[in-house]
Structure formats: structure tokens, C-alpha cells
């Protein structure tokens, strides 16, 4: 038999002590599982998402292979044109109500720089009627590009998604 002198609560005191201990733990769990609130987005703003995936023009044009060149190519890869893989970066400018809100350039993806350029950018804007203009340059510094314009009506907390399907403008807006 050994003798230990640690205090051990007995009877109702023991259960009262546990009740206090568990209550404190439950309060911590209950409170921090959903509080304090986090203000994720201002109530008086709308959100514009500019996001698309677009391949720039090839840096060098495709050339026809000569008959001698074709002879040295395995049958499985024998195509009449030779196309260098590298593409131009894509440059984008976005204006809202004639004010430039974004200007950026993205390199082609992939180790050979032959993949599409990827854009994902978000902007907070005031709600209301907006005219947007999108300018895309996909043919290098001296090359061509295209433009789109549209008019949108945004309410607070609306999300406007600006996307491109190939070169056509796709706008994602809340259904009213």
C-alpha cells in the first residue's frame, strides 16, 4: 500500500469541478467554431473577375517541308508543314468607364512556351452601370490583336466574370 497526498475531489465537488471544466472547453469550441465573423467582401462593392486562357500567335510562321526533309522524318511524324512551337506572350488591357484598371502580359505556358497564356485577376468596383473595354494583343509587339466592348449593370456583391471563348467575349453575370 502506498500513500499519495494529491488532492482528489470527492462527491458533488468532483462533478461540479468537471462541469466547470467541460463548460469552459465547450464555450471555446462553440464560440470559435463560428465566431468572430470575418468580413469577406465590402457590402457596397461588386467584383469583376478577368480570367481566360488564350494562346498567342506563333512567333515564327509555319513553313513547307521539302521532299528531302520529309524523307528523314519517321512515318508517324510525317506532316508537310514545320511549325516552330514558341508563341508570343499575350498582352491585355481592361478599361472600365474609360479608366484603365488592368494592363498585363502573360508568357505562354509550358517548357517550350507553346501553351496558352493564363489570366486570372479580380477587381473590386462600385456597383452601377459600367462600360468595359477589353484589348487583347496576341501577335507580339508589332502584331495584331482584337478588342471587345460591353455595357453591364452591377449590383452590390455581384460577380462579373470576363472570359474568352477563343477570341469571342463571354460575360458571366448574375441572373436577375
Amino acid at each position: 500500500m502506498t500513500y499519495r497526498t494529491k488532492p482528489t475531489p470527492h462527491g458533488i465537488g468532483r462533478y461540479l469541478g468537471q462541469f466547470i471544466g467541460y463548460s469552459i472547453f465547450a464555450l471555446i469550441l462553440g464560440y470559435f467554431s463560428a465566431s468572430p465573423d470575418w468580413r469577406y467582401f465590402p457590402a457596397d462593392k461588386a467584383l469583376v473577375k478577368l480570367s481566360f486562357s488564350l494562346s498567342g500567335e506563333r512567333k515564327e510562321a509555319c513553313t513547307d517541308r521539302t521532299a528531302k526533309e520529309l524523307e528523314n522524318i519517321p512515318n508517324s511524324a510525317k506532316v508537310p508543314k514545320s511549325c516552330p512551337r514558341e508563341r508570343h506572350p499575350v498582352r491585355v488591357k481592361l478599361w472600365l468607364n474609360d479608366k484603365e484598371v488592368f494592363a498585363g502580359e502573360r508568357s505562354p505556358s509550358g517548357l517550350s512556351k507553346d501553351g496558352p497564356s493564363q489570366f486570372y485577376q479580380t477587381f473590386e468596383v462600385p456597383p452601377g452601370q459600367h462600360t468595359l473595354k477589353l484589348e487583347v494583343k496576341d501577335g507580339g509587339p508589332d502584331g495584331g490583336g482584337f478588342e471587345h466592348s460591353a455595357s453591364v449593370d452591377l449590383r452590390p456583391r455581384d460577380i462579373l466574370a470576363i472570359d474568352l471563348d477563343r477570341k469571342a467575349l463571354m460575360l458571366g453575370l448574375p441572373t436577375r
Binding site: S35, S51, Y120, I159, G172
Partner: protein, 522 residues
């Protein structure tokens, strides 16, 4: 060392908290001694409630939210409670895990042989958080929408994905039903991987406690149940990718990282995550205290009884078949890399029982830096140095609790050990019969908070006669006192030792037992 400045106040705080929980819960149910077991217990509640939720969950864009809402509102008395239990037990699991981690750090239980459990625990922590975040996606409410977009933007900070992941959440039509099949698959697979890691986490811990005492388990479950009834878990409005949520009721246990991304942007948060992870992983190898030499087996004395194998808290002793001419079949072998030199194996070894006065003690397993022979000599010498005009007490303490060598109590000789579990009952026997002590007082960090995990438990069981090696003394057991005390408990312990010393003259004279018990001569 900088870590020491952080550890010491934390250690003090934990010891004070332990004393507080002793008062509230009693020592046997003190939750701070069962943090790992409570993690397991909460995991099982999460798993059981999760199975039910999986049965009713619909894996589609519309069905996900509606199925969860249906059980929350229409089946609040069961489905709603299961959902709330799932959430609160998950929160309790993470909170308990964090306290467990901090306590092991504060008490310096992450270095040396414990590096394995510590390092395995680091990915477990992140995996647990990922499981929680993954779970919140499934509800597909505004909170899930926010998490989805934020997570995608956070991952897109590394330009390694072909197309930004965030484009999957651009418009309502971006998301397909298969996305929820993927989420539910992850929400089953990731916890199973976590469970596997929980098993690996304990591989170098013998007799790890994975179940809390029944009373603590019932109390914890009732607490979660009552919380689920009073404050049930509910959803935000349904996710709508054409509108931004304004205010989010965040679960700060699992989702604390998102406000950080919002405030600091993705780059610094990634740096913080990698920094914290790297620091946690290298911590066991940062400049450390010196560990004593590992235990060694004396083949001539070892009889293969397996008691040291059974008692070692770290699985550092293994039994092998003998290949010499010994009549015994097996021999203990020490894995030096896993040995913490706690000496518990010395306390369990029966080969030196009973202790004699003159012989050189050679025991089956011993510590090179503090052999049992040296220990006996130290005990006899310190007691011999005590004055004769008062009762003589020998006080055994462990290096991880109250520093008994600094106590300086008249009439009390002190011996500090790596762990109180190193004391063989035969040494107590010897000190009362032959060593000149009138009483023996044992203290240490003890069961539950024992630095070497099992030392306190084995001491109690050996003295109670329920575990070999047994205490065989015929002296009154009132001459032996066991009193666990943490570093914060020093003043009370000192009072108890003085009271014990002063009680000894009131005990009947037992000197004749020295001559008649015969134990010494057998």
C-alpha cells in the same frame, strides 16, 4: 538556447494547469494526461458521425447543400446532432492536438528517442487541417464558396498548374457534379491516411494510451452532445458563384489561414507555412541536452525473464534467442538508438533481488552512468551522513520534477534519478533493513505526467504488489511514502516530507525485523 526561454514559462503554465485540473477532475481523469488518447477518442466520434453523414450526402452541386440542409432542419433530432457532433468533435480534435503538441514541447518531450513521434506528428497536423477544410467544402454554402475560391487563388500562387484552378469557380456553370465526387473521395481517403499516420506516430511508444479513462470519455462525449443540442451547427446560405459572400462565420480552428491570406496575400502565408513546418521538423535536432549512455545488458546475469522488455516505455529492449551456453533461452538486447537511459529497466530487473550489503551488484541490465551498485553506495553514504538525533529519511526523486537535491531538509538524504521508475523495490527494502534509513520517500513526475511515460505507473504497481518486481519488506508500509509532485508542487511536497519524517518516531520499533525476516540472507 532560445527555445528554452519559450519552454520554461510554458512548462510552468502547464504544471499550474495540471494542478488546476487535478482539483476539477481528480488526478485519474486529468485531461492533460490523456491528450493523445482524447485525440483518438475525438477521431472516432468524427468517424462515426461522418459515416452517417456520408450515407445521406448527395454528391452534386445542388444536392450537396440540400441534403445537408435536410438533415439539419428536418432531422435535427438525429441527423442534425450527428452533423454538430461531426463539427465539434473535429474542432475538439484539432484543439486537443494543438494542446498535445504544445505540452510535449513545453515538457521537452520531442527530442532524443522521441524525434520519430514528433516528426510524424508534423504532417499529421497539416493533414488534419486539410481534412477539416475539405469537409467544409462539402456543404457548398457561402463559407464553402469562399474557401473554394480562396484555396484556388492560394494554390495558383505557385504557377505550376496548367490553367488557374480558380477558373473552376468562375461562374455557376463552371462547376460539375463530379467535383463533389472528388471532394467526398478526398474526405474519406485523407482521414484514412491520417489514421495510418496516427498508428505510425505511436510505433516507438510501448503501451501508448489510445483510450481515455471511461469517465473522461463519457464526460467528453456528453460535453459534445450538449453543445450540439444547445448550439447546433448550421449552414450559411447556399453558394452562388455569381455573388460574393459578404460576412462569413468562420471556424477559426481549421480556417485560420484564410484571413491571413486576405491580410498578407498568398506569398507571405506560403512562406510562413513552410517556415513553421521546417522549424517543427528540425526542432528535435536543435542544440539539445546531453543524454546519458544507453542501458547495457550483462549476459552473465540476464535470465531472459522479459520484465525489462515489458516495462521499457520506448520499446528499446528486444528479446533475442541466446546463442551461448547459457541455460536460459532468451537474452535482452538494448537498441541504443531508442534508449532514453531512464533506468526503468533497472528497476524491473529481478536478478539483483535481494540486495546484499557487501557484494558488488551486477544486475541483468544496468545504466553505465549510474549503475545499481553506484546507486546503492550513494544511498548508503548519504544516509550515513545524516545526524543521529532525528529520524533518517531517504528521498528518491526524478530529474524531471521537483529537484530534490536542492530541498535541503534536515534528516532527509536525497538521491536524484533519471526516473523514479529506476528504483527497484529491493533497494527500498535494503535501505530500511540495512541502509540505515527509518523511512523512504519517493517522488517524481509520476503517472500521467511522467516524462518517461510509464515510470510512475510501474513504481505504483510494484509497491502495490501488482507488478514484478515486488516489494518484499516486512517493515510497516507506513515507512514508505509515494507522493508525485510536479515542479510547481515543491512547497507542498516539502511540507509532506517534513510531516512524513516527523511521523516516523510514532511507528512501532521494527529493528527486530532486521534480524528475523531472513530476506537478506536467503
Amino acid at each position: 538556447m532560445v527555445l528554452g526561454y519559450i519552454q520554461r514559462p510554458m512548462e510552468w503554465a502547464f504544471e499550474k494547469a495540471e494542478l488546476g485540473f487535478d482539483v476539477l477532475f481528480g488526478r485519474a481523469w486529468n485531461p492533460l494526461f490523456y491528450l493523445g488518447a482524447l485525440c483518438y477518442f475525438n477521431f472516432w466520434i468524427v468517424a462515426a458521425s461522418g459515416i452517417y453523414l456520408y450515407i445521406v450526402f448527395e454528391t452534386s452541386v445542388l444536392g450537396a447543400y440540400n441534403s445537408i440542409e435536410a438533415i439539419t432542419q428536418e432531422q435535427w433530432y438525429f441527423g442534425g446532432i450527428m452533423r454538430s457532433l461531426h463539427r465539434y468533435a473535429s474542432d475538439a480534435l484539432l484543439l486537443t492536438t494543438m494542446i498535445h503538441l504544445l505540452r510535449e514541447f513545453a515538457l521537452d518531450r520531442y527530442r532524443g528517442v522521441r524525434w520519430f513521434s514528433w516528426v510524424v506528428g508534423v504532417p499529421m497536423l497539416w493533414l488534419l487541417i486539410i481534412c477539416g477544410i475539405n469537409g467544409y467544402w462539402l456543404v457548398w454554402d457561402e463559407l464553402a464558396q469562399m474557401i473554394a475560391v480562396w484555396t484556388a487563388e492560394f494554390l495558383d500562387w505557385f504557377p505550376i498548374f496548367g490553367e488557374p484552378i480558380a477558373r473552376n469557380f468562375l461562374t455557376k456553370g463552371s462547376l460539375g457534379d463530379r467535383f463533389f465526387s472528388l471532394l467526398i473521395f478526398l474526405h474519406i481517403a485523407l482521414p484514412l491516411i491520417l489514421l495510418l499516420l496516427m498508428w505510425i506516430h505511436l510505433q516507438r511508444m510501448n503501451r501508448a494510451r489510445i483510450n481515455p479513462p471511461m469517465g473522461l470519455a463519457i464526460g467528453t462525449f456528453l460535453m459534445l452532445l450538449v453543445l450540439s443540442l444547445i448550439y447546433p451547427a448550421v449552414s450559411h446560405p447556399q453558394a452562388d458563384l455569381s455573388h460574393v459572400p459578404e460576412v462569413i462565420h468562420l471556424d477559426w480552428f481549421y480556417l485560420f489561414v484564410y484571413p491571413m491570406i486576405d491580410l498578407w496575400s498568398a506569398g507571405p502565408v506560403w512562406a510562413l507555412i513552410y517556415g513553421v513546418t521546417g522549424l517543427l521538423i528540425i526542432m528535435p535536432w536543435l542544440p539539445r541536452e546531453k543524454y546519458d549512455a544507453p542501458a547495457v545488458v550483462n549476459p552473465d546475469q540476464c535470465n531472459g525473464c522479459e520484465r525489462c522488455f515489458d516495462d521499457c516505455p520506448y520499446g528499446a529492449v528486444i528479446m533475442q534467442l541466446r546463442e551461448d551456453d547459457s541455460p536460459y533461452e532468451k537474452i535482452a538486447v538494448v537498441n541504443a538508438d531508442a534508449c532514453a537511459a531512464c533506468g526503468i529497466c533497472v528497476g524491473s530487473c529481478p536478478t539483483h533481488t535481494p540486495l546484499r550489503r557487501g557484494d558488488h551488484i551486477t544486475t541483468g541490465i544496468d545504466l553505465p552512468d549510474l549503475s545499481l551498485h553506484q546507486l546503492r553506495g550513494q544511498c548508503v553514504a548519504t544516509v550515513a551522513g545524516l545526524p543521529d538525533d532525528m529520524p533518517k529519511v531517504i528521498l528518491f526523486g526524478c530529474a524531471r520534477a521537483v529537484q530534490v537535491e536542492a530541498m535541503n531538509i534536515p534528516g532527509v538524504a536525497t538521491v536524484q534519478l533519471p526516473c523514479t521508475g529506476m528504483v527497484p523495490p529491493s533497494l527500498l527494502d535494503f535501505m530500511l533493513r540495512r541502509g540505515g534509513a527509518d523511512g523512504v520517500f519517493l517522488t517524481g513526475c509520476g503517472d500521467g505526467e511522467c516524462f518517461h511515460r510509464l515510470g510512475g505507473r510501474w513504481v505504483e504497481e510494484r509497491l502495490d504488489g501488482t507488478r514484478e518486481t515486488y516489494l518484499r519488506t516486512k517493515f510497516s508500509k507506513k515507512r514508505i511514502r509515494l507522493d508525485w509532485a510536479s515542479s510547481a508542487d515543491g512547497d507542498r511536497l516539502k511540507e509532506d516530507i517534513i510531516a512524513f519524517r516527523d511521523s516516523l518516531p510514532d511507528l512501532p520499533d521494527e529493528t527486530d525485523l532486521v534480524e528475523t525476516n531472513g530476506v537478506d540472507e536467503t
